[in-house]
């Protein structure tokens, strides 16, 4: 009996959430009085939540050491226990390489979100305590949903996750329309989820009871069933709809920008970077293996939707005036890439998509959280891009980290996102060349939306309400910056640069983008085998190069040295 790493990873955040919530017990309602006790209560909640999230990271390290990368295509760290024997539902968890990376993404982002939220919630410590507790509860669900190997368990978690997410958006958001956004999110997700439930039950009933013993919901038992063509396609469509809403594909994306605009950047990080990955993760690990025929049948349609999403999201992002809404739309575009890669059924495309699920999480998380730091510097916490200007001069570290995060959204080589995006492009071309070609202009659109945003917020002159001074603007008509003007602006800057806490958050994410961009092998070994498995399960194989096997380099000068 080995240590149940996944169960530990699921249970620990719940305990930490409880502990965080309990730090407020016996202290009354500090926010109402604003006493010293209230401040202390808030600090304790922060420290407990952060410590809990960091212990979770240690557990994750343990899970990684127990994981055998040479068998990354198989489910490992598996545990199976009966749950509802009457219907054959079990508590079955286990991860392949992709699942492990997504668990790692969840567990890695939570402490950063907690750190970033340190001074959020308007200084109301009791509110912050509850916020952090809900974040930890959500973490448990996120880990569980990526680890579930039982379709029934997956479905229950898929729906149960909505509860903490709903409260994070509607209860702790910062936008005026947060309740509207929360209800919209909930209704969209529930609609998709309920249709999926029908398909889950229908699929369960397809298992021939006599051959495979008692019916179960285990994924491996449901894989490879002889399904009627129509039944398979209908069930596929139900699963796919639920996942398409989650991962938002155009045209069922419109809940995402509203959520991004109204939730806190930390909530959006968890929602868009992690929780929504359930959609693409579900397509990869449920739609493809459970319904191979229907997947192949639907692929042209799905690929069109994906390409539309890629371009549509990017164009919409260019047209946004709200910073967080803009980031939301960039994700619509990126989810399009992930779906495109999955449905090209090439090992390069599916592995690229799997890697992109991780990389997009890091990149967009960095973008959301650093955007949150930008907004925190505005006296009225404005999210309007037009309310900013010239911040690079007064806050260079903020500017630098934002630029790296932004360029990672545009898949700049050297950053992690490039590797996954180019893999999706290369994989897609082998199967769906037209789709790949049509999607290529997205690289230009991405450059436009990130650089336009950077230009508007970080270059030019600092507006007066952010403390920009007239002396600096005077240098604007031709003369180069004078030393005294610039230095004075820096010293007296009302907009301070990132402090140590914020630097930690931004530094970890930017560092991860760089490391995974320069040494992509660190992550690739987890997605390579699962990608090939997914292609096999869907009944396809990689198209061989047109000119046959790789030619051995015949030129005599080559390799004669070195």
């Amino acid at each position: 009996m080995t240590f149940p790493w996944l169960t530990a990873l699921i249970v620990w955040p719940l305990l930490a959430a409880l502990a965080t919530a309990l730090t407020g017990v016996g202290r009354g309602r500090p926010a109402a009085t604003g006493t010293g006790a209230g401040r202390f209560g808030g600090t304790a909640a922060r420290v407990v939540a952060l410590a809990g999230a960091l212990v979770e990271v240690l557990l994750l390290v343990g899970a990684f050491t127990a994981f055998d990368t040479t068998r990354a295509g198989e489910h490992q760290l598996a545990e199976t226990h009966d749950w509802i024997p009457a219907i054959g539902a079990s508590y079955a968890v286990g991860v392949d390489g992709v699942g492990l990376l997504l668990v790692a993404l969840s567990v890695g982002l939570v402490p950063l979100v907690i750190l970033a939220a340190w001074r959020e919630q308007g200084g109301d410590d009791s509110r912050l305590r509850r916020y952090l507790a809900v974040v930890l509860v959500l973490e448990a669900f996120m880990v569980a949903v990526f680890a579930a190997r039982d379709v029934f368990l997956f479905y229950v978690l898929f729906e149960a996750m909505l509860i903490p997410a709903y409260f994070l958006i509607g209860g702790f958001g910062q936008g005026a329309q947060r309740r509207y956004a929360a209800v919209k999110f909930l209704l969209y997700s529930l609609a998709g989820g309920l249709i999926m439930l029908v398909a889950v039950i229908a699929l369960y009933l397809q298992v021939p009871a006599a051959e495979r013993g008692p019916r179960t919901f285990l994924t491996e038992n449901l894989t490879g069933l002889e399904l009627g063509t129509t039944e398979g396609r209908l069930m596929f469509a139900a699963f796919f709809l639920a996942f398409a809403i989650k991962a938002p594909l155009v045209p069922v994306h419109s809940w995402l920008p509203d959520v991004a605009e109204n939730a806190t950047p930390g909530t959006s990080t968890l929602l868009v970077c992690v929780l929504d990955k359930v959609g693409t993760f579900g397509m990869l690990t449920l739609c493809l293996p459970l319904f191979p025929e229907a997947s192949r049948w639907a692929a042209p349609f799905v690929i069109v939707l994906a390409v539309v999403s890629i371009l549509y999201g990017a164009i919409l992002a260019i047209g946004q005036s709200d910073l967080l809404r803009l980031v939301g739309y960039t994700s619509v575009s990126h989810f399009g890439f992930i779906v495109l890669g999955i449905f090209t059924f090439t090992s390069l495309g599916t592995s690229g998509s799997s890697l992109m699920m991780l990389n997009h999480g890091i990149s967009t998380g960095a973008l959301f959280l650093v955007a949150g730091f930008v907004i925190a510097r505005h006296p009225a916490r404005s999210q309007r891009i037009a309310d900013y200007g010239g911040l690079r001069t007064v806050a260079p570290v903020l500017g630098g980290t934002f630029l790296v995060a932004a360029l990672s959204a545009a898949a700049l080589p050297g950053l992690a996102t490039f590797v996954s995006e180019v893999m999706v492009f290369l994989g897609a071309f082998g199967r769906a060349p037209v789709a790949a070609l049509v999607a290529v202009p997205a690289v230009v659109l991405a450059a436009v939306y990130v650089l336009l945003t950077y230009q508007r917020i970080f270059t030019g002159t600092v507006p007066a309400h952010l403390g920009g001074d007239a002396a600096r603007e005077a240098t604007d008509d031709g003369t180069p910056p004078l030393e005294d003007t610039v230095s004075r602006t820096r010293e007296d800057a009302p907009v301070r640069d990132l402090d140590a806490r914020e630097r930690t958050v931004a530094g970890v994410l930017v560092g991860a983008l760089l490391v995974l961009g320069l040494v992509p092998g660190l992550a690739l070994r987890y997605v390579d085998a699962p990608g090939q498995v997914a292609v096999e399960l869907v009944g396809e194989s990689d198209p061989p190069p047109v000119l046959g096997a790789q030619p051995v380099d015949a030129r005599p000068t080559e390799g004669s040295l070195s």
Binding site: V250, P251, H253, S254, I315, L316, G319, T346, S347, L348, R392, T393, P396, L412, P413, G414, F418, V419, V422, M423, F425, L426, F429, G430, P433, V440, V444, A447, V448, L451, F458, T459, G460, T461, R472, D476, G478, P480, V486, P520, G521, L524, D528, G531, Q532, P544, P545, V546, L547, Q550, P551, D553, A554, R555, T557, E558, G559, S560, L561, S562
Partner: protein, 632 residues
């Protein structure tokens, strides 16, 4: 080759320099610029060691690949972190690090009064690292990392003084237009992997001969698209003029000597693909010829000294592209001209920087004049660069440009006559606009105030700025001749670009040389008359339509705005509007429909037992009817 293992250090040293300067923050302000100089110098030293090693080897052993291991291995794709050291990449390494180091030195003095000097050197080092990766990479994917890396460095440096909005906009414009070109490289990589199953130079170029003409043409045109973006060739040329917003050393290094020539590198490196695709090759030559004239015409009308030089750069790269499109007879001369141009154009830009330094950052040549006496060193070094770009024998440009003109006259049918004539006429126009620039700046009456409001007090630049100018001027004089000795440079490149058979031009060589020199003398004489003998008006005179068009870069910005930006903005606004009014509202209407249905059904829940009883009766009747219908 024992020193091959040093190749990764060429990238690593400047990259480390950039990392220290960026992460070290203001602690490194005091000595940061010297660290930058050191990193660049060290890279140059490594380049020299490699050169010495390669030169000891026989020609057929001069191509070597050093792999650090697998960079990326997944599914059907495998890319090594491999560096290719051969005469072509070494040429670039030495050009980039030598000119780069000189410009680092120059910048120590030029940026001395800028509080952000350390950041400037960090970006410069970042650029050098990315550029060296671009030329040393042994696969298209790794090349692409350097390719976009220099794009980012260029973006950061053009917008270095980003508190001015127009500088930031210029940086963005450059990056976005480069990305348009980068689409070409991405598509080319898709095609290569689809055909060959690999992205390494060895595999792709080795298999180029086996590709169908159609595929080779597609790859060739996509590579050309990439080259057009990076090298500011028609129709993606519009960013280069605006890029002059960057500090002048940046214009010298990135936007004249090195980065903008990367497109030429890409095409020469991919020569086997182009040779399998005659149509693509022809398009390369046409793009080069068009840009050559485009830049030359624009150069004649610019009063901004840096923008005139930028137009000239575009035009000279047009010569290189033309040569690259001519096939094996052109490759070596494309690279040869690239090297000599790197020296004299960098020298000219540094001279322009020195003039700006003396004239309180003014760039308007109509308000220069007579600066020769105040700035003797600048005048002489720029004068030598001027003679070099004119192609006056025995200066550097003569040896390289004249060979391109000769090669353009080789061939059959209409091509030699068209390409040859364009190259010939271009040389005459070049002589005119470069002489115009030189005379407007240094000769004639002074057109600036020496006292009172807005007075200028031109003074020669400090030694650290003069030294690189002098070294580059020496190169402008002698480099071309030295590299030509005994056919040295073409032989040196042969292991990469192959041996070119000798072909006779359609005109005798002596006639071509004579015609070129006559046109050059005519162009220069005309400029002398107009800008040295006659008075230059301080305000630009109203002129004919061509001059007015050339002043506005032949309307490149209005054209781009009409063709790309305007439709883009309309599409964006329409979609933003449609997203709310069509997509979102469809779902909102669905939601409100559900609510209305609920409201309607609620009315039946009225609390009266009699209506419930009626409903029950109605239901029973329906069930009975259904059962009856099914039973019979």
């Amino acid at each position: 080759m024992q020193t091959l293992g040093l190749a990764p250090w060429l990238v690593g040293l400047p990259l480390a320099g950039a990392a220290v300067l960026l992460l070290g923050g203001r602690r490194t302000d005091r000595w940061g610029h010297w660290l930058g100089v050191l990193a660049s110098t060290a890279a140059f030293a490594v380049g020299l060691v490699l050169l010495a090693d390669v030169l000891r080897l026989p020609a057929d052993e001069r191509v070597a690949v050093h792999s650090l291991g697998t960079w990326l291995e997944v599914g059907t794709l495998q890319v090594d972190a491999a560096f290719r050291v051969d005469p072509l990449s070494l040429t670039f390494v030495l050009l980039v690090t030598f000119v780069g180091t000189l410009i680092h030195l120059y910048s120590v003095a030029y940026m001395a009064h800028d509080v952000d000097r350390r950041r400037f050197f960090a970006y410069l080092n970042l650029f050098v690292a990315a550029m060296l990766l671009l030329v040393l990479a042994d696969s298209y994917l790794l090349l692409f990392v350097g390719w976009e890396g220099v794009g980012v460095a260029s973006f950061l440096l053009i917008g270095f003084w980003d508190h001015r909005r127009e500088n930031a906009v210029a940086g963005k414009k450059a990056f976005v237009m480069n990305r348009v070109g980068d689409m070409g490289l991405i598509v080319a990589m898709m095609l290569m992997l689809w055909q060959v199953g690999s992205l390494s130079f060895g595999d792709v170029l080795g298999a180029a001969g086996g590709m169908s003409t159609g595929v080779a043409t597609a790859i060739g045109l996509m590579l050309l698209l990439a080259a057009c973006g990076k090298s500011a060739q028609f129709p993606l040329q519009a960013w280069l003029g605006d890029a002059m917003a960057g500090p002048t050393p940046v214009s010298a290094l990135i936007h004249a000597a090195t980065m903008v020539t990367a497109g030429v590198y890409l095409l020469v490196r991919s020569a086997p693909v182009l040779e399998a695709a005659p149509t693509a090759q022809l398009v390369v030559a046409v793009v080069g010829a068009v840009t050559l004239l485009f830049g030359a015409v624009v150069g004649c009308a610019k009063d901004d000294i840096k923008k005139a030089l930028a137009a000239s750069t575009m035009s000279q790269i047009g010569y290189m592209m033309l040569a690259a499109g001519l096939g094996p007879i052109g490759y070596a001369f494309a690279i040869f001209h690239l090297v000599t141009h790197g020296f004299f154009k960098a020298g000219l830009f540094l001279g322009a920087g020195s003039v700006m330094h003396a004239m309180d950052d003014s760039v308007d040549m109509r308000r220069f004049g007579g600066l020769g006496r105040a700035l003797p060193v600048t005048a002489v070094t720029m004068g030598l660069g001027w003679l070099a770009i004119l192609g006056v024998p025995p200066f550097s440009g003569y040896w390289s440009k004249d060979k391109i003109i000769e090669a353009a006259f080789v061939g059959e049918g209409w091509r030699p006559w068209v390409f040859g004539t364009v190259a010939l006429v271009g040389a005459g126009i070049t002589a005119f606009y470069m002489s115009r620039l030189f005379f407007m700046t240094f000769a004639g009456r002074r057109r600036w105030e020496s006292e009172g409001e807005g007075a200028r007090h031109p003074h020669e630049a400090p030694f650290l700025m003069r030294l690189p100018m002098i070294v580059l001027a020496v190169g402008s004089v002698a480099l071309g001749g030295l590299l030509t000795l005994g056919g040295g440079f073409t032989t040196w490149l042969e292991p990469v670009v192959g041996h070119a058979e000798h072909h006779d031009p359609v005109l005798p060589v002596w006639l071509i040389i004579t015609l070129t020199l006559v046109l050059v003398v005519l162009g220069a004489a005309l400029a002398f008359r107009l800008y040295a003998v006659q008075q230059v008006p301080v305000e630009p005179p109203a002129s004919n339509a061509l001059v007015r068009a050339a002043r506005r870069d032949l309307y490149q910005d209005p054209v781009n705005e009409t063709l790309a930006m305007l439709p883009g903005q309309v599409a964006t606004r329409t979609l933003v509007y449609a997203d709310r009014t069509v997509v979102d509202s469809a779902f909102l209407r669905l939601a409100s429909g559900v609510r209305r249905a609920g409201d309607g059904l609620r009315r039946s829940q009225n609390g009266y037992v009699r209506s419930y009883a009626a409903t029950t009766l109605g239901g029973l009747l329906v069930v009975a009817a259904v059962v009856w219908a099914l039973a019979y």
